[in-house]
Subunit: 465 residues, 2 copies
């Protein structure tokens, strides 16, 4: 809390000496234009409903790249192009299946009835499947990595079920995600180390439904690459209740995930060329790829259409940026981050002078702030603009980095970076799940995000950092 | 913007001299309890799914009162009772219907084809219906009251179509509502003054769907009480486009709204008796009634279950309030406000010393602040607590009054009042429409509202105002 207090005091003091009338007029124009004539919502409808989920290497991703290029041009980019790169090509390979098999006593008899309950699962991204044969093994419940270590002698040939709870008491839900997502990322290999046959991971969500949430794992290449699935919360609770009651449960899993050879993908780039400093570049972006079960509406269709909306509003208002602004739809954030790496690498090779980068990859929800990565002085300067953003919902800018896709740029150029920080309460209801669809994005919340992004880009372009 | 700046500076300065550790620990306990064991969402499911829409006088309202009383008791109230009052009893009386009738030229012929297009409408609350016979008249498009005045000589015997737009450029959507809702409230009588036969009002919403949004009108009793309906936005746009193209359109309306005799209704009241000042009362509430087309989930099921959750969390944490706290589910907010009036009247008659009141009636969305009604000194004191609420999403407390149900209490006792101010972007997508249902409320957003309400009640109980 103290942190917020100090930064806020600075913000407000600097505001007093900050001539802001012209800027607040400009930002009001941005807001009025987007709230009245905004195209972000219609663009999102096209991306989600006409193209859908678009994992790197998929035919949908190819369509999305063409769509992105065309929308960049239609929105008024001075130039627009595709930046080629190689992307990993993981495919799910079919419907993921899992059944719990267990015995129930038949009333009035000594016999047992074998029961089967179908579980709602999704193979983790980058996981290798069971192949055509089902894998059927006894389940071992493990509530944490500590418990895995304690039970390590019982792990061999079992399916380890990580039932680590998404912590509901963190108000900012990305904290719960940071706390839990190691079970998805490194959980499979940590179980494989003790001989596990497969892994089931409780979904990283506190939703009230049973949709499983996928996402990438990272195999330790020195260990067997065992199959791994995410399970919906209701099924996870059922399974853990059964196991807590000392029931023996076998689970039969069939998954088909595998890698095809790396293939060609593209970052989609649009540019407004700077009027004063054409060789100094500000980058703003979101990632075009998404997981396959849903439509990638919040993750990260929202960031994509907000990025394009910032371009559109600048053209619509006749705003001529002083610096060159690049609008980038990054390839392959979800299971490789090759798009962000390629973009930063080429910028370095060509010696493009980057001065700032912004990303939107936390959903199309009502904005509350930005997270920032840079020096304390730069942070103070950005915070001094909060009063200008305040009428549009942004009231805090805190340390916290700029997002995955612009991470490599940040490392290569040591430039300040920011990421839009919308309200996070609903994000993990949809994240990497089949309900991350257009219908779950609100038009005005999406637009308010774009307004604050455009306003901050305008301020950085005008005043520098 | 300046206003925010000054109040924030005061807030933060006072924070420095404010010993707050014990309070932040208590508020964290409130938050953890609600986010972990909260019952607000389950209670809302019961109220919306088992009872549904519950207008004053309806059988559902009777059920809701019994449900409320039982939940108050189950949540640990020291006492709980029903406060009887008389409520108006308006009924919709059947399905509201409207058809647009217009001629289209038949291709290659001089003849005209009579076309019919069904419009999605809802009679306005408290409006009188057309009766069994349909009312069929020519439509007159009027985009504002100014335009009505200009066209007043053409109004006679027409159906006036108020197509006043819900302003998208106000970021805080209640501003758009304040700007537009006169067309619903007084529009019918203003048209009746010039001899209109009926009124169609563009819904007060910027949703992307076609659901009509109802709500109360207020007839001028000196003028004919003409039928009046709200129309969905897509139909409103279609209708205005036709009329702008000089088409003549008749609309045939059938509505059946009428009043039955006033009937008995109840405020539901639960109480925690104060340990130090049992005769000093803090009231917190929401309204139990709702419009009939939906389930009254955001309006105001959310406020109802948040109010009960504040009671539940105090009992769960063993918190003994110093003052008596009354948890009130008000009757008849939507079309009469008799519940709030009765509560204030009885408090005055019994000479109950009220010191503070809080309401939640702006939806179960992620909280951003509170609006306040009271003296500048009281406002400063409440604002000095913002740093304690900040971790839970509340960052501003502004002048703006305390909500309709506690208005009479405020007037009778001159006490400070507050209303929870959640994010307002989605509110008018659902307000008074058939999609104000349980599925459109997010569990954690609802809970965060209850957390901030409980925290502020705790602070007022401890420190006074």
């Amino acid at each position: 809390m103290r942190k917020y207090f100090l930064s806020a005091v600075f913000t407000l003091t600097s505001f007093l000496v900050f001539s802001q009338n012209e800027d607040s007029v400009m930002i009001k124009k941005i807001s009025d234009e987007i709230l009245t004539n905004g195209k972000a919502y219609d663009n999102l409808r096209q991306l989600t409903k006409q193209i859908g989920g678009r994992l790197a290497g998929s035919p949908q991703m190819v369509k999305a790249e063409q769509w992105g290029l065309q929308v960049m041009q239609a929105s008024g980019a001075d130039k627009a192009w595709l930046q080629e790169l190689m992307v990993p090509h993981w495919v799910r390979g079919g419907k993921d299946k899992a059944d719990a098999l267990f015995n129930t006593a038949i009333q009035g008899s000594r016999n047992l009835l074998l029961q089967k309950k179908s579980l709602d699962v999704l193979a983790l991204g980058n996981s290798l499947g069971t192949g055509k044969a089902r894998l059927t093994k006894e389940i071992l419940l493990v509530n944490s990595f500590d418990e895995l270590e304690k039970k390590k002698d019982s792990v061999k040939d079992k399916i380890v079920f990580y039932n680590y709870k998404f912590n509901p008491t963190f108000v900012r839900t990305f904290q719960s995600y940071g706390d839990a997502n190691g079970y998805r990322g490194s959980g499979p290999s940590r179980a494989a180390k003790y001989g596990a046959a497969a892994v089931i991971v409780r979904s990283m969500s506190h939703s009230t439904d049973n949709n499983p949430h996928t996402g990438s794992l990272r195999y330790d290449t020195t260990l067997p690459k065992i199959p791994a699935v995410a399970i919906g919360l209701q099924d996870a609770d059922w399974l853990s209740n059964q196991l807590m009651n000392k029931k023996i449960i076998n689970v039969s899993i069939q998954t088909n995930g595998h890698f095809l050879p790396d293939t060609i993908g593209h970052n989609v780039i649009g540019e407004l060329t700077g009027s004063e400093f054409p060789d100094q570049v500000i980058t703003i972006g979101g990632h075009l790829d998404s997981w396959d079960p849903g439509e990638g509406a919040h993750d990260d269709g929202a960031g994509v259409v907000q990025t394009i909306e910032v371009l559109r509003v600048m053209k619509a208002l006749g705003y001529q940026p002083k610096h060159t602004i690049r609008f980038v739809l990054f390839a392959n954030e979800e299971n490789g981050l090759r798009g962000g790496a390629k973009y930063a690498e080429e910028a370095k090779t060509k010696n493009d002078k980057h001065i700032f980068a912004m990303e939107s990859d936390a959903g199309g929800f009502t904005p509350r702030g930005f997270t920032f990565g840079g020096t304390p002085e730069q942070l103070k300067k950005v915070q001094s603009w909060i009063p200008l953003l305040y009428p549009y919902g942004v009231y805090e800018i805190t340390n916290g980095g700029g997002g995955a896709d612009i991470g490599p740029l940040n490392r290569n150029f040591k430039i300040p970076v920011v990421e839009l920080a919308p309200d996070s309460q609903r994000y993990f209801d949809y994240h990497h799940a089949r309900n991350d669809v257009f219908e779950n994005v609100n038009k005005r919340e999406l637009e308010l995000g774009a307004i604050n992004m455009a306003a901050l880009i305008y301020l950085v372009d005008k005043y520098g950092l």
